[in-house]
Symmetry: C2
Subunit: 165 residues, 2 copies
DNA sequence: GCTCATATGTTATAATGTAACGCCCATGAA
DNA sequence: TTCATGGGCGTTACATTATAACATATGAGC
């Protein structure tokens, strides 16, 4: 068995990895971070975060809503969007603009903006943390006198597994 | 008067610049490029391209549609989206995912993907062409064995003019 | 218990994007 | 000339994504 493979076994984890362990770890980190900050990770918000993590890739708000309805019968779009707003504010979830979809942050706690590699074959994504990308962006912006606030970097292509098929 | 200021007077042009000249130049370049390629820049497609350029910043599909209806009474969403699909295929227009909006390409002809600086104060945008950004992305992707297809780079912040207010 | 702020439930609607079908017209083969 | 072909576009309907507005509940602190 491979249940001992940690969630840190790579940004594009092998398909047989113990994903439930990833979910548990993410929830535990989220609870610790929110406790430290005095942010209220309520039952609903934790459920939504779990659903985000249970998906093996970026997931849309309405897909999340369908799954949440298995847990909370009355859930409606604002239910999901408000929970996602909180999770994004706390840096626990990122939104991928190109996909209109949401994904759990691999590096919560460290302030950063998401940089994503998105496989167009299998739909998986990986979060990149490359200061060089941000640096190159900042230099290009500075050359035009632009003051940078947020950086969206979303790259499509083929993940290692899908290249070899 | 400042009608002699060319569209090349900077990615964030002064507000009083002769924008109609930008539009004309863009249309002329588009006609030349499409003729070279055997692509059909029809009346509708040219009208949509003009409307995109007439906007001083990224513009949404439904805003374009409203304006197009002043020229073509029967226009409907597919009218706009089909024209935009063509213009994007031809590299004459870029889509900005964060904004769900469209903007004319400053560098048509040279194959590239858009990198954008978006001012959150005035709504203007500027296209960046920085091979270093693409290079940094490609290196980060290569380190994970990811094969890059497209790169979306969208930066928000303040343009020079809006910083000094 | 009371009060206030925050979180959530609920209904309706806005904003963005596509599917599907048919007509027209330019082109070229029969 | 006639007819098939294909692209471009009109048209209707619908799908998807997101938010506004207001009511209710919850929970901490007084
Ligand atoms: Zn992250
Ligand atoms: Zn893949
Ligand atoms: Zn461009
Ligand atoms: Zn500005």
């Amino acid at each position: 068995m491979n249940a001992s493979i940690s969630p840190a076994d790579g940004p594009f984890p092998s398909p047989g990895h113990d994903h439930s362990h990833c979910v548990e770890t993410a929830i535990a980190r989220a609870e610790r971070l929110c406790a430290e900050r005095g942010a209220r990770l309520t039952g609903l918000r934790r459920q939504v975060l779990e659903l985000v993590w249970q998906s093996h890739g970026p997931i849309g708000a309405y897909d999340l809503l369908d799954r949440l309805r298995g847990l909370r019968s009355g859930a409606a779009p604002p239910t999901i969007y408000r929970a996602l707003d909180f999770l994004i504010e706390q840096g626990l979830v990122h939104r991928i603009a190109r996909l209109n979809a949401f994904v759990g942050c691999d590096h919560p706690g460290a302030p950063h903006q998401g940089q994503f590699l998105i496989c167009t074959a299998c739909g998986s994504s990986a979060e990149l943390v490359e200061p060089e990308i941000a640096g190159a962006i900042d230099r290009g912006a500075a050359a035009l006198g632009f003051r940078v606030d947020t950086r969206t970097v979303e790259v499509t292509g083929l993940c290692p597994r899908c290249q070899s098929r």
